[in-house]
């Protein structure tokens, strides 16, 4: 619906008056690569989060522009505060600590921490990693989880998921911890590897905006709700994960 | 006609602990040629540099053309335009050709217009025999030519007195002559000159007064025939023996 888009834009502009940091663009902070939520393919950034935020951008009648920036700047709110972007959609879990530094939308995705290891390596859980190396990503909830729960395990801190996965793949570390969504996606291609366990951390992803940016937050929440009720959400989900969402 | 051009009284100068000049008195009258000789490190260059205040004296007075230079209220730049200085190492402006070397200060300091400055420059280049090198860069000239250009540059400011600090020491032996002969000609034309030199033949022939310095004091002073030909002081004698008769310094 082109016509619908126009009316929506008028309505959004009229009721909420969203201020954008870059005129004519909805700027999204994200940390590449984070497949399938966002990653580069053929010169474009694509993925689940990208499609979701595009719904908001369409409503505003602007293009989405994606800024690739280290994840710990995103989750700390620094990038939003610095005006680097309007929102952060980076497969980011809603946590109390992060809530202090930025405002989260309603949850749009359920996730949990999971362990990645080479098949047949005997790494099945944190206990089996005792004395071994576990790759974590700087600033992530996996980092926090491992720090709390993985005693006697050497945590190796990587800048981004790409570096982490490469380290696991090339054997620099014995295993890696990260969100289940991205790990399952990765082992689809790398069949030598498997997700050996999930930690059932019960996390939910949210889209972040600068603290106090009510107008934008409301607009995002509106679209998340709309997408879920209209079936648009399921459509996008299936496009990126190859199957319909299990629970909802 | 014994107008005083340079009058130095009780001049002392130290670098840190090192007393380089220890009470120098010197008077140079108009048209006089004074040569300063003495061993290395005796303070000859420092004396000369005090005359145009390139070094600031510790005490004593330096009066040039009636201006007390050591007075903080003296217009030192104006005074310097009347004092030509020629250095051992020529110091032509490396980034300018010969003509611009001669006209720069005329135009910026004396405020002469370009035409006038060039006229003066060309006349002075003629005087030192360098007319055909007007457009050469300093690097393209021999040492002797550079030094003659430097003399012409100083002369272009129409100075009352010329200071020379070992103007031929950095030159190949066969190039010394061309510079000395320009200096001799200047002396003949009546220029007041204060010359630090090791060229005894020049001092003997051209100087009205020769000053022998050692360790920061004037040891002996008088006509060339006396100081060089028949020195009275032991220090002067032994210096002159070393310089004039180098092959036999061990005998004696």
């Amino acid at each position: 619906g082109d016509g619908g888009g126009e009316t929506d834009e008028g309505a959004a502009g009229g009721e909420s008056n969203v201020q954008l940091v870059n005129e004519g663009k909805l700027t999204t902070c994200t940390g590449l690569p984070y497949k399938p939520f966002q990653y580069e393919e053929g010169g474009d950034v694509v993925g689940f989060d990208v499609d979701l935020v595009d719904l908001v951008a369409e409503d505003l009648g602007v293009e989405q522009e994606i800024v690739d920036t280290p994840f710990d700047g995103i989750q700390s709110g620094a990038d939003l505060n610095a005006g680097k972007c309007d929102l952060a959609a980076a497969g980011m879990t809603i946590t109390d600590v992060r809530e202090k530094n930025l405002d989260f939308s309603d949850p749009y995705f359920e996730a949990t921490q999971a362990l990645l290891a080479k098949k047949g390596s005997g790494v099945t859980d944190l206990a089996s990693l005792s004395g071994k190396k576990l790759a974590v990503q700087n600033g992530t909830t996996g980092f926090d989880y491992a720090q709390e729960n993985a005693k006697d395990v050497e945590l190796v801190n990587f800048e981004d998921l790409g570096l982490l996965l490469t380290a696991v793949e090339t054997g620099q570390v014995d295993a890696g911890i990260n969100d289940n969504g991205v790990l399952y996606d990765w082992v689809k291609e790398k069949t030598d590897f498997e997700v050996t366990t999930e930690f059932d951390t019960g996390e939910e992803y949210g889209i972040g905006v600068k603290t106090g940016n009510k107008a934008l937050l409301e607009l995002i929440n509106k679209h998340i709700a709309e997408a879920k009720s209209s079936g648009k959400y399921d459509e996008i989900y299936e496009k990126w994960f190859g199957k319909a969402p299990e629970s909802k | 006609m014994t107008e005083v051009v340079i009058e130095i009284t009780g001049l002392t100068k130290s670098f840190g602990q090192l007393e380089v000049l220890r009470g120098i008195d010197l008077t140079v009258t108009r048209g006089q040629v004074v040569c300063v000789i003495g061993p290395s490190g005796s303070g000859k260059s420092t004396l000369l540099r005090c005359v145009n205040l390139l070094e600031e004296p510790n005490s004593g007075s330096v009066v040039v053309n009636g201006v007390e230079l050591n007075d903080p209220d003296a217009d030192i730049d104006a005074a310097r335009t009347r004092i030509g200085m020629v250095f051992q190492s020529f110091n032509l402006f490396a980034h300018q050709n010969v003509l611009n070397n001669l006209t720069l200060a005329q135009r910026k300091v004396l405020k002469r217009d370009r035409a006038k400055a060039q006229e003066v420059a060309l006349a002075n280049l003629e005087r030192v025999g360098l007319s055909e090198k007007v457009n050469a860069m300093p690097g393209e000239l021999s040492g002797g030519q550079q030094q003659r250009a430097a003399i012409a540059r100083a002369l272009s400011m129409d100075p009352d007195v010329m200071l020379f600090d070992e103007p031929t020491s950095a030159l190949d032996p066969e190039l010394v002559g061309e510079v000395l002969s320009v200096m001799r000609q200047l002396a003949t034309e009546g220029m007041t000159m204060l010359v630090v030199t090791h060229e005894m033949q020049f001092a003997r022939e051209v100087a009205d007064t020769v000053l022998f310095m050692d360790a920061g004091v004037v040891v002996e002073q008088g006509p060339a025939t006396q100081v060089i030909g028949n020195p009275r002081q032991e220090r002067t004698k032994s210096f002159l023996h070393r310089v004039l008769n180098p092959v036999h310094v061990d005998e004696k």
Partner: protein
């Protein structure tokens, strides 16, 4: 020991060539060439990277570097003048600034500007170009200030003395004699600083960038992840060399033109030291 010249020369050159040939042969035989080609040079990856690696990444590298260099120079000029001032506090301020920023990694400065400043001063909005210009400019300015100061002081004292004894004031001497000559002295090291800044611009990825803002390193890094091959890094590297090698030749040319020493003949230096 007491070999004749001819024998010694033959022996030395013979041994060296022999070593070279042996090493080359061993390398050629043991290396797995298909593997090496796969690792370092996959033509299809190179093809994928063009033209964006030039039109976007190389261009952005040049832009960021240029901005940093310009801003750095603008900071360096007053810093150098302050360093040469007769007013002691100016010398101190400039000295502390230079010592401080010369001793810090560029990455730390970029982190401080890009991440720290917004944290420290909530509300401060830093545009990517602005942030890089400031960060790279600060990094460069400390070096450039020293270069400018050294260049000015490298003008032989005799040149200044000559000008002063012609009655030129300190200011006139500076403008007409010192600066033109310092300029020639300063150009080669300034070119080298441009090279250093080009390389430091690789740290821009810490400030985040949209695809159109990628410079060479970030571009290469993203592609490295995408293609799982060293080829993108190699392509990015070659692009850096396209900038830096000509600049370093320029710098050496300027240095020589400014009057370097003549290099003496091999025999007279006796420097054939390889065993």
């Amino acid at each position: 020991m007491a070999l004749s010249r001819r024998k010694r020369a033959r022996l030395i050159r013979g041994t060296q060539y022999a070593i070279l040939v042996v090493v080359a042969v061993v390398f050629a035989l043991t290396a797995d060439w298909t593997r090496i080609q796969q690792a370092f040079f996959r033509p299809e990856v190179v093809r994928e990277m063009f033209p964006d690696v030039i039109t976007v990444a190389l261009l952005n590298t040049v832009i960021y570097t240029g901005l940093g260099f310009g801003f750095g120079l603008a900071l360096a000029i007053p810093l150098a003048l302050m360093r040469l001032s007769s007013v002691a506090p100016y010398r101190w301020i400039s000295g502390i600034y230079v010592e401080f920023f010369r001793g810090l990694p560029a990455l730390l400065v970029i982190l401080a500007v890009g991440n720290g400043v917004p944290i420290a001063f909530p509300g401060a909005i830093l545009n990517k170009y602005l942030a890089l210009m400031v960060a790279l400019g600060i990094v460069g300015s400390a070096y450039m200030a020293e270069t400018l100061r050294a260049g000015i002081q490298a003008v032989p004292a005799g040149q200044v003395e000559a000008a002063r004894s012609l009655g030129m004031s300190p200011m006139r001497t500076t403008i007409w004699v010192v600066i033109p000559q310092a300029f020639k002295i300063i150009l080669p090291p300034l070119t080298n600083e441009l090279i250093l800044l080009t390389k430091d611009s690789s740290l821009a990825l810490f400030l985040g960038a949209s695809i159109s803002e990628y410079e060479l390193t970030q571009f290469g890094r993203v592609a490295l992840n995408q293609y799982q091959s060293l080829t993108p890094v190699l392509v990015a590297g070659v692009c850096y060399l396209i900038i830096t090698i000509p600049l370093s030749y320029l710098s050496r040319y300027l240095e020589k033109r400014g009057g370097g020493k003549k290099i003496s003949s091999p025999e007279s230096t006796g420097l054939d030291v390889t065993p």
